[in-house]
Every structure is written in structure tokens, then in C-alpha cells.
Symmetry: C2
Subunit: 201 residues, 2 copies
């Protein structure tokens, strides 16, 4: 079983977290059954952007990164305390542990800022929310090479623009954990028409 | 402020709930600011399909439907107790109250079965998860006219096929609560390219 750790910083964006829950979950139930998702946060209940509260499986301080095969990082809004939480040294440390073990790190939107803060994006191609120059500048200031592409995969790290890219990031992670054929089957079951491999319409 | 009640039956599908959280939330923060979402369930903590636990704002037994302007109903998996919960008479009663007040009811995937169970789809055009004939048969048995279309809007009731239709259902609800121009702006901010009005690419 390949275990995905979903990192929920305070103020995480609910939709961007949900794509990992569903894609990994559909695969467990209806795909090749080889993946399982676990959530973590600083507190047992974590508040999302837009005020929902989720009960996490594990506290960050208690978990062992060696138990997991990939890290998934949704973005979030500054207005809901996302950066205050996501840029904490404990999260940077967690990201570095996954990176040093060459495990997949899949982030969406402003989640890239948390990845960059850890130092693992230095000299790597990456992107972040594309409609706010402040976010892009943060990424550059933290040493990444900014790419104006919706989804950027450099080595083991996925970064992306916005909620619109979220599903494709989750499917890209599933493809790295399983294979292309399996991803096409899961997409089909979730109702996405397959025109070309890996293209949602 | 237009208030949307998100109905979380046990075993609700996380992704299908998230589209309402995000679309209504983005509109509150970055759109015309006129909408707010509240969650409800039978218990303070509701388990989702794939095992996440969400803390709801209100218990179903305690809420007053007159406080809300629209009802949003994600689907869910039988394996996680969705139908046992979603077909309970308290939920049928809630749906009827919204319908009798001619308020919008927006459902996704198997959420349509809960809507049909309440009786409000009798003689109306509707759809549900399209890759399982059992779900479609349930809808017909409960009096609906089955339409093989991804999203069906009959009067005040929206039904749809699968996770792939979820975002469009949430945007359709937002359009009914605000207007088309506002929806296009929210879509743009969330990163969805606008080729034609109401077409996600």
C-alpha cells in the first residue's frame, strides 16, 4: 500500500485538499486499490479557508515521515492564516524529509510557497498562483526558477497555478504512484471523458 | 447575504462537497461577496466517503430551513453508509421544505437519489451517477424522468452525473444566486479559462 500524507496547514483550501482525498480514495476503492491517504495538521481540528473544520488523522509533531510514500500540499488564503501556519519550521522540516528520501511532493497553488520555504525548490523550476504577482515574487525570492505554466514537474516536486489545476495535480501524483493506464481508469469512473491520455475535458 | 446550506449525510463525497465550499467561499471573498455557506449533519462530526471527518456548523434537528436560500447536496458511496443516512426521513423533510419555498436545490451524482426519495422529483427531469444502472433505476423507481445528460436543471432542482460535473453544478447554483457575469469573474479568479460563457476548459 502506498501511503499519501495530506498536509493541512491552518487555512488550507478545501477544494485543493479534496482532490487528493477523492483521487487517492477512488483509486483505493475502484482503481488498483494500492493507495491510501492520511491527513495531518498542527492541531486535531484544522480550520480551512472559508471556515470548515476537518479532524486530522495525525498531529505533525507525532508522525514519522518514513511511514509515507508521498506528500500532498494544498494551498490556502493569507486571510485565513495559511502562510503563518504553512511556513512554520516544522512543515519545512517535513518537506525536507520527503525530498531527501526522493519521495513525491505534490503541491497546488500557494502550497508551492511552503515547498519553496523549505529550501528544496532552490534552482528548480516551479510555479504558483498566477494571478497575484506577490506569490510569484515570493517563489523567486525563495530561490525557485519561476515558470509560467499551469503545472510544473521538476524531479520529484509538482507545483501548479490555481484551483483549476488541482485535479490534474492529484492525477499526476496518482500516475507517479501507480501507472498511466490505472489513472485513465480512475478518471473514467469519476466521469471525466478521456480525449487524449491525461487530458480532462 | 444569500445563505447556502450544505447537507452532509454520513459518507458524503468529499470532493463533491468541496466544490460548494470553494465556489461559494471564493464568491464571498473575491466575487460579489453576497453568499455564505453553512454545513449541517446528523452529528457534530460527519464522516465522509474515504474516511475524512468534518465538523459541521449545525445539527439537522436544530436548524431552521427558513434561515437559508439554497440547499446543496453532494453524493456519496453506499460502502460508507451514504444511502442509510441520506434517505432518512429528516433529510426528505428538509428537502421538501426547500422545495415548497421554491428555493434552489443543487445535487451532485448520487445526491439525486436523496432528492428523489423526498418525492420532489416526481414527474421531473433528472439524472444521477451514469456508470451504475442501479442508481439510474432508483431514480426512475422514485418517480423521476431519467435524462442521460451530465447536468439537468428542472425548475429549481439541479441533478448531475458524477464528480466530473461537480464544479459546474456549484457554478450553476452560484449563477442562480447571483448572475452570469459574477460567475465568470469567480471562475477567472479560480484559474478557469473562459472560452464561452459557462464552459470550463
Amino acid at each position: 500500500m502506498k501511503k499519501v500524507l495530506l498536509l493541512l496547514a491552518e487555512g488550507f483550501e478545501f477544494y485543493e485538499a479534496s482532490v487528493f482525498v477523492d483521487v487517492i480514495g477512488w483509486n483505493r476503492l475502484e482503481g488498483d486499490h494500492s493507495t491510501q491517504l492520511y491527513t495531518c495538521g498542527f492541531t486535531k481540528e484544522v480550520g480551512s479557508t472559508f471556515g470548515q473544520k476537518l479532524v486530522v488523522d495525525q498531529l505533525i509533531e507525532e508522525l514519522d515521515p518514513d511511514d509515507f510514500d508521498a506528500l500532498a500540499i494544498p494551498g490556502g488564503f493569507q486571510e485565513f492564516g495559511y502562510f503563518e501556519s504553512a511556513l512554520r519550521p516544522e512543515i519545512s522540516g517535513l518537506i525536507k524529509r520527503f525530498h531527501n528520501s526522493k519521495k513525491m511532493i505534490a503541491s497546488i497553488c500557494t502550497g508551492a510557497i511552503a515547498v519553496a520555504q523549505s529550501g528544496v525548490l532552490t534552482g528548480k523550476r516551479a510555479t504558483t498562483y498566477n494571478l497575484n504577482p506577490l506569490r510569484q515574487q515570493s517563489l523567486v525570492n525563495l530561490g525557485a526558477i519561476l515558470c509560467m505554466e499551469p503545472i510544473v514537474i521538476d524531479d520529484n516536486i509538482i507545483t501548479s497555478w490555481s484551483p483549476s489545476t488541482a485535479l490534474d495535480v492529484a492525477f499526476a501524483l496518482l500516475e507517479r504512484l501507480t501507472n498511466k493506464e490505472n489513472v485513465l481508469n480512475v478518471k473514467r469512473l469519476m466521469g471525466f471523458k478521456i480525449c487524449q491520455p491525461n487530458t480532462l475535458v
